[in-house]
Symmetry: C2
Subunit: 238 residues, 2 copies
């Protein structure tokens, strides 16, 4: 596809398996230049920020921006607070309940910043690697939430409210939303993603090795097993 | 109203005329305790942050929180960037066009943080002092935007998605949305608001005195004139 025909897009990147696959899909679908947006929100798993930077470079993102937002001041999440990350949980429990790793209003805040940057760049396409299957039961990952945000965004900004009726509106792309973890991994491998670069663990050790036991590790492991491909994750010795 | 019957609420406060009136209305309508939420977003008119703190204390807010968010990194607004604040503009121009003082996605970002804090506090009512009349033509002040955000918020959070069908949903209150500036001032004066405490100017001098010529000053002046009450604002000498 000729460069002049490409559509620029912002991709929310966390350094994890899902958002990296999402970046690969955006590129494969002909979007470009790609703008990578990460958040430093006081998360325990800060290794993911280094991974996000490396991955943005790997995918030749036009820009990789890290926005610092202090969600710790709200507390009440095991990802930012002094609450223990749950380990070795049963999968039925993971997906049925909203876990303590839920960060209040996280995706709403992330998408709001993406909208602000999109407006400044004149970009109308934002990719987010959420998926509603094979993930912890966070409410802000569901398609109905994403559609509601998209509607809000189109009413919120100068670019979409001043533009004429034929102008393109703001669009939230969530290409993984209906995929299982195994399907995400297979799609990523087709697109050449090196999952050894990605980082999913909520509670890595000091060397950045995955714990293998938090919800995120367990879902990731299961994904590789179901996709019947080898898992390149570096796990800490048990 | 007995304390036990009160409903807690978060009020977005800027130190300005509108949000201060909104705080007075929330209190008069029986909401409490009140949580005051301001943003330090690199705005030029930082005197408003000091005003917001004084006003929260005056209204005996249970807590006043200032969240730092760096909208300057997105640039493209006269409120945060090195673009001149327009002066002496004709009112028709002010309300018809979206001005350069528009901050990309500002109210979407502000409401997203309010939602995060609301969830942590277990609060389901957020007051925002936007008004769609007598204000600059920002898209994120219109009722349809606020309704869309409220819908998004109700799909975003644990508190509204786990609660039973009879549970109260998240509500965005915008009691000023259909009022003129003069009506807002009259309502505030009925409720005992001291507008000398409030600060609206986009471009105050070093002593914090209002310029009297930016859109915000011009609309405020006109409001006091139309309400036929004296204007307590300290203006810089011309």
């Amino acid at each position: 596809m000729a460069n002049s025909k490409k559509i620029p897009a912002i991709v929310l990147t966390s350094g994890g398996l899902d958002s990296t696959t999402c970046l690969a899909i955006a590129r494969a679908d002909g979007f470009g230049p790609l703008y990578s947006l990460s958040f430093d929100y006081g998360q325990r798993h800060r290794h993911e920020l280094a991974a996000a930077r490396r991955i943005a470079r790997h995918f030749a993102a036009a820009e990789h921006r890290v926005i610092t937002i202090d969600l710790r001041q709200f507390g009440k999440s095991a990802l930012t607070d002094a609450i223990d990350v749950p380990k070795d949980r049963d999968e039925s429990k993971m997906t049925a309940e909203i876990p303590v790793t839920y960060v209040p209003a996280r995706n709403t805040i992330f998408l709001s910043y993406a909208l602000g940057w999109a407006e400044v760049l004149g970009v109308r396409d934002v990719f987010i690697g959420v998926n509603a299957l094979d993930c912890s039961g966070y409410p802000d990952r569901r398609p109905e939430f994403l559609e509601a945000f998209e509607r809000t965004a189109n009413l919120a900004t100068k670019m979409t409210t001043e533009a004429g009726p034929s102008a393109r509106t703001f669009k939230v792309h969530a290409p993984l939303v209906h995929l299982t973890k195994a399907q995400i991994i297979r799609r990523g491998l087709e697109l050449g993603v090196d999952y050894g670069m990605t980082h999913s663990c909520y509670d890595p050790d000091v060397q950045g090795r995955a714990c293998g036991r938090c919800d995120s590790c367990l879902l990731r492991k299961k994904g590789f097993a179901e996709a019947a491909v080898s898992d390149p994750t570096r796990y800490a010795p048990v």
